[in-house]
Every structure is written in structure tokens, then in C-alpha cells.
Symmetry: C2
Amino acid sequence: MKVAFIGLGTMGAPMAKRLLEAGHELTVHNRTRDREEPLSALGARRASSPAEAARGAEVAFTMVGDSPDVLDIILGEQGVAQGLEEGAVVVDHSTIAPAVAREVADALRAQAAWLLDAPVSGGSEGAHRGSLSIMVGGEASVLARVEPLLAVLGSTITHVGDSGAGQLCKAVNQVVIAGTYAAIAEGLTLAMKSGVDVDAVLQAISGGAAGSWGLINRGPNMIAGTYPLGFRTRLHYKDLGIALDAAAEQEVPLPLAAWVAQQELGLIRRGFGDEDVSNLARVPREAAGID
Amino acid sequence: MKVAFIGLGTMGAPMAKRLLEAGHELTVHNRTRDREEPLSALGARRASSPAEAARGAEVAFTMVGDSPDVLDIILGEQGVAQGLEEGAVVVDHSTIAPAVAREVADALRAQAAWLLDAPVSGGSEGAHRGSLSIMVGGEASVLARVEPLLAVLGSTITHVGDSGAGQLCKAVNQVVIAGTYAAIAEGLTLAMKSGVDVDAVLQAISGGAAGSWGLINRGPNMIAGTYPLGFRTRLHYKDLGIALDAAAEQEVPLPLAAWVAQQELGLIRRGFGDEDVSNLARVPREAAGID
């Protein structure tokens, strides 16, 4: 298939590479152009703008930072929409506001093209392995057309509703992570301060009703007080902001997510924004005088 | 082995039954005496007091409500300690304050007997099936002696430290459950209010970093707005109180657990204390105008 990939960062580059290796005819573009070179060396065509990348592509993938970036690379002056052919599909893997996803979908529909909002979870490791979880909003029939491509990138592809629903699902994911990590951090802090065998406690509670991915995969780092990536606190804070805005639009109070977001802002201010978000454990640890 | 079991409630009765069925010579006692009858019909001897039940027993199990109950049935006038022989072991499965577990252990040690604090998780279903998780504080050598008996009751037996450590571990378990459930409740409320396919959202996020026992096993009930047991909110509130007191003793601030405890108090006041603790979802649901 003729495909384009725009946005070759930590996530985008390995995703584009997987599409190329799966045998697709790939054109790439990145704002910082030299990031196109490794993929070019593997056989991808380079394009000087998102519009040029999209020209002739059946599917154009985008993976950038935030809502304004998506508006710019899709609907901007040299944006994907300028080069997109009728019937083509844009798959946006960025994590952005659900309302912006709906806005972009409407704009593309007006020129007989399609948007799927398809944020992912699973980190850069998942991007390399093709084991991402992809949450998709948009037309089911459009998803069916591109599903073989998404299967190259992710092991779980879930259609959660109309345009914006993929983003909403990602927002829910980040809200649940926020409070779950904060809860794990408090519990382990109590254990650490109490002179019990903390590793044994972790072992004892992981299999029951307190068990979670975070407890098993991030608990040991919280106990050690080291927070290797993972997923950056600065990005989780950005995503929580999207979630809180989306919730506020619908008058859904999320006091726990808001409280965790404030803790993350404090961590970012102190220079810890590029650690893994499990560094939320710094807050109760330091309050308890550990460290 | 000659064993005693004192406290034949929802948890204690099926645990005692398993010990009997495993071939042990069992004496039972319960404050409300007629609860002894079903076990008596199966071959257990009845005792008129904890002291009498403990007489001649190598191991005496206790499973009652809270710290004062444990102090009374073990150290009280007709308590287990009055009948206990030298070298005998008391295994207390109640969830109580770590400091009280240490106090009881000290008192028993003075008469050459032993306490293991061994609170459990896994609910009445785990008690029936013998699949409880048992968190044990006390001497490792004493645990080794009674481990064959505990294996009749639980599938995971973890030694977490000295006297009180089992209770501390249970406290950590309840602290982690508190915030995790609150986080799930917020996330699912956002999903419900947003018109996406909530079941698909649950499916999409369960396998990743937001995944937890609570999300998978209680998420569907939170979406349905029904809270079958499970584990009662009133008991979780009691356990959080123990955890917060133990944390306060060591000057460990647990703002998230404290906040969830206040929500649970509100639910109990409104008459929802005997629902499952996943009814924490009532709080964000109602704030968002769902129901």
C-alpha cells in the first residue's frame, strides 16, 4: 500500500519502520528533516512537507506532540489535507483533545477524506515490537480498511466509537493510571517506613484485589526510588490536562486526577519531568521522610 | 493435629470447616453459640469459651472483627491465653492494628506461647475454596510449624516480617485498593458521560498500564451501577482507619487513603455500607449526574 508517515519521534520512527519492513511503499516527513534519514536509508521516500508526503498516499499516519501540532500538520498551510486525495484516510496516533480530533475529522470529511483518531499506549518498546494498544475513534468501515496496517503496529486494536472516542479512551486510560500510581505510591511508602519486608509485601498483595500493572511493573522502582522510562511525567501531565479539559466540558468532576496532575506539575517544576511517571512516589516518600 | 477455631463468621466458618475436612481434630467456639452447630454436626467439638477451646490445642485460630475483639478473646477473662499450653501457637486471621498484634504477641510470649498475625485477603469465596492470600507476621520458625495448616486455608502464604508485619501488609493492601478503586471510578465516569462505548474502553485499557484487578473485576459493576459483594464498604472503612492510624504513628501522611476513607464514611452514612467497596463509583457518578 502507498502510505505516508509524518512525525518521526521516539514513537513515530519505529512505527514507520515497521510499516516499511512490512512491505508498504512509504513516504516520510519530519519537521526536523534529518530524522528522515535512517528511514530513507531503508528505502523510504522523503517529502519536504506533510502535504507532499500525503500526495498519492492511500493512508497518511501522523504522530506528533499535541493538539496545535496536529492542527498544523493536517490542516495547516503545508498540511496533509493539502495533498490528500479523495477517499484517503488519515490515522492520527497523537494524543490530543477529543474536540480537536472531531474538528479535524469534520474538515477532512468536507474534502471526502477520513480521519481516525488512534492514540496508542505501550510506549516506545511497544512501538518497536508492534505490540501497541490502539484506541480508535471514527467510522468502523474506515477502520476496517486500514486494520491490516494497524495490525503491523499494535497487538490490540479497539474501536471505541465515533471521531474523538479514541482520544477520550486514551484520556480515561491516563486518569486511571494517575490515581492507581498514586495509590501504589502511598501504600508502598507506608510499607517502607514500617520496617517490614517491602518486597514480601509487594509479592503478597500483587495477586489480589490490590494488584495492578503498575504495582507489579512500577512498584519495585518506587521502592528503589529510581524512575527509569517508561513514560515521562511531563507527557502524562500533558495528557491529564487533555483529560481534565474534556471532563470539564461535560461537567465531570475528576478531583483525584486533578490532584495527581498538581503533584506532577510540582515534580516537573523541580526538574523531574523527564523521569517515568512512577516518580509520583517521590511525593509520599518525601512527605514521610524517606530519601 | 489438635486445633481450635474461635470466631465462626462469614470467613471463620468456612475456614474452620476446611480444617475439619482436612482431618484435624477441631474444637470450635463462637460468641453466638448456635453458629457452632453446623460444624458440630460435621464432627467438631464445641467449647463454651475461648479458654476452653484452646485447652489442649496445638494451634488456636481466631477470626473476629477488630482490635478490641481480639484483645478480649485472646487476653480477656475467658480468653484463649487462659487455656493455652506452653509452646502452643495462636494464629489470628482478624484484621487489626499492627500495634495490638505486637501487644498480644508479647503477652503470649510471656507464657511461652506464640502469636502469628495472619490477616487474609480473598473474601468469603477464598475462605470456602482455600485460596486466601495470608500475610504473616511473627517468628519464621513458628510459621514453618503451622504452614501445613495454613496451606489448607490459603494458596499464597507470605511471611512479611516480625509480629505486626502481617497486619501492616494488610493495611498496605487496603490503602492501595482505596486509591486504585477511586481512580477506576473516575476514569469510567468520564467514559460513561462522554458517549463512547464504555465496555470497549474497559476492554482497550485493561491490558495496559491502567490495568488492575479492580478494573477487570469491578469495572463492569461500576459501569452498571450495581455493587454486589465482594467486600463491604463498612469493613474497608474500618481497615483504612487501622492503616491511617498505623501511618500516623510513624508520621506517614496518606492523603489519598484519607480522602477515600471520607468518601466511604459518606457512603456508610447514606446506608450503602453493606454494598461492595466498588460503590466508591457512586461518588464521581453522582457528581457527574449519572444515575
